[in-house]
Subunit: 324 residues, 2 copies
Amino acid sequence: MLESTTSRLLEEFRSGDRRACGRLVSVVENEGRGAAEVLSELYPLTGRAFRVGITGPPGVGKSTLVEKLARLCRDQDRSVGIVAVDPTSPFSGGAILGDRVRMPSLFTDPGVFIRSMASRGGLGGLAMRTREACDVLDAFGYDFIIIETVGVGQIELDIASTAHSTVVVLVPESGDAIQMMKAGLMEIGELFCVNKSDRQGADRLALAIESMLGLRSSQDGWKPPVVKTVGTSGEGVDALLAALERHRSYLVESDLMSARRKFRVRVEIKELVEEKLKQKIWSRPEVDARLAGLVDEVMSESSTPYRAAAALLEFIRADSREEV
Amino acid sequence: MLESTTSRLLEEFRSGDRRACGRLVSVVENEGRGAAEVLSELYPLTGRAFRVGITGPPGVGKSTLVEKLARLCRDQDRSVGIVAVDPTSPFSGGAILGDRVRMPSLFTDPGVFIRSMASRGGLGGLAMRTREACDVLDAFGYDFIIIETVGVGQIELDIASTAHSTVVVLVPESGDAIQMMKAGLMEIGELFCVNKSDRQGADRLALAIESMLGLRSSQDGWKPPVVKTVGTSGEGVDALLAALERHRSYLVESDLMSARRKFRVRVEIKELVEEKLKQKIWSRPEVDARLAGLVDEVMSESSTPYRAAAALLEFIRADSREEV
């Protein structure tokens, strides 16, 4: 059952009210009351936007590139949603660079939505919440959705990979080919972007990426293009957008778009089930009390975490039965 | 119940057989049969090693630094365990830089154990498996355990933070202070290391880190030191080791060592329980069949992932009751 405020928000959302869209993104982001219901209501409206992930090491100029890419889309009269995922900072208690600071040239444009998401110290569900925020933007009707991740670790790659197309951004200073491989960047990229390509070493990096891609086993016949850009001047951003469009066409024509969607739906259902089960278990006071006792046993060396976990599982099982 | 081969391995392990130690690390790493039992057996032997996490962006020279740090420990007659966590690569199907290639000067030293761990495409349990591998090395008697992470994302920070002391390694080219904050590196570091400090900008970076740390709220009275090193020549590595020892003494004297251990035990038990529950649920063929049906419903737009998850939860609950 939807509460009346949520119903009103949804109504405003459907009539194209941007503020309602922003508030629903917040509901999803904060896992607020009614989030699952809102998402369930909006779900049939999703599936129209093109979702692009932009990832790469810190300092390669992702934000500038995203800004230029968004501007170009706007020139083509397409609306743009941007979700930037930042790790939590105790300094600010949230995403460090606020939405207003991030991309000043876009912030006043009604055809652009920008939101910074924070991981709030926990990884749990960050990729899920990012995807859900994109679902809200997709349902609202944004044509082009950009997911920008700040780190370059596994969770950031996971987040980027919830997009249709993932762009890995590097700069001539990013390090050699082995470093890129070690960071897992070569496998995730469906497009590669050598940014700050007016600097020395850009051609060498582009060649190195291309030769590494030659080693990579062909992914369903798509050969990732390497595009050179200069984010600050906007040079090459049109070529990047064109390459993204080619990838989108390729996904549609090869039927990969629907295969990927099916895979994502499966993962999404499993994640939702796991999340709910965890919440259910750890919110029971009797389970928490038992856990505290078991921690003490391990600390006093009369048990081990493994025996404690087995005992807790048994306790949870017995407790669930009583509930029936 | 332990199988006879596992019992024999444990016996050899207890008698100080390094090969048995390596094989038990593999059992844990691959979540092989008997892994939980092995860990439960070994648990009482753990808690003696000093665990150090080394993290930072790709290309800052972490491996070289780890090698020099390990050499220095060896000169002091301490045994060293090294666990390097790499993301999976489809190129190699595992950790890219094999143990032999990583640190040639250490590989033949019987007082050093080196293992590269891969994430095998999934994040599930990577931090847990890393910690467990360290438990095996701790139980075997390695004095000094180094956990090196390759990426710089949230999961890598999580892994590094399972250590007693976390060192964040940066180089003058790592980018400005804001970039470091964005990557979440300023919060996690208990020690900071400016490597390649013979390069221009090293002093400026060290000062920038110190002034950023001035902004950070005091963490239990510990002020993270900033140490300058040159990994290739070994310069400053002794100062880094000394700073690590000071942090260790601080942890012991302030009783934080035991508070942290208690926190870790709690997290560990919860993770083990969640892992087991997930395995139990998704391994049931009837749950898998129901999931497949629900995915089809969502794909044909007669349901949403949220309704599907609710239906699956209900199915799992009913199915569990029948089982009773």
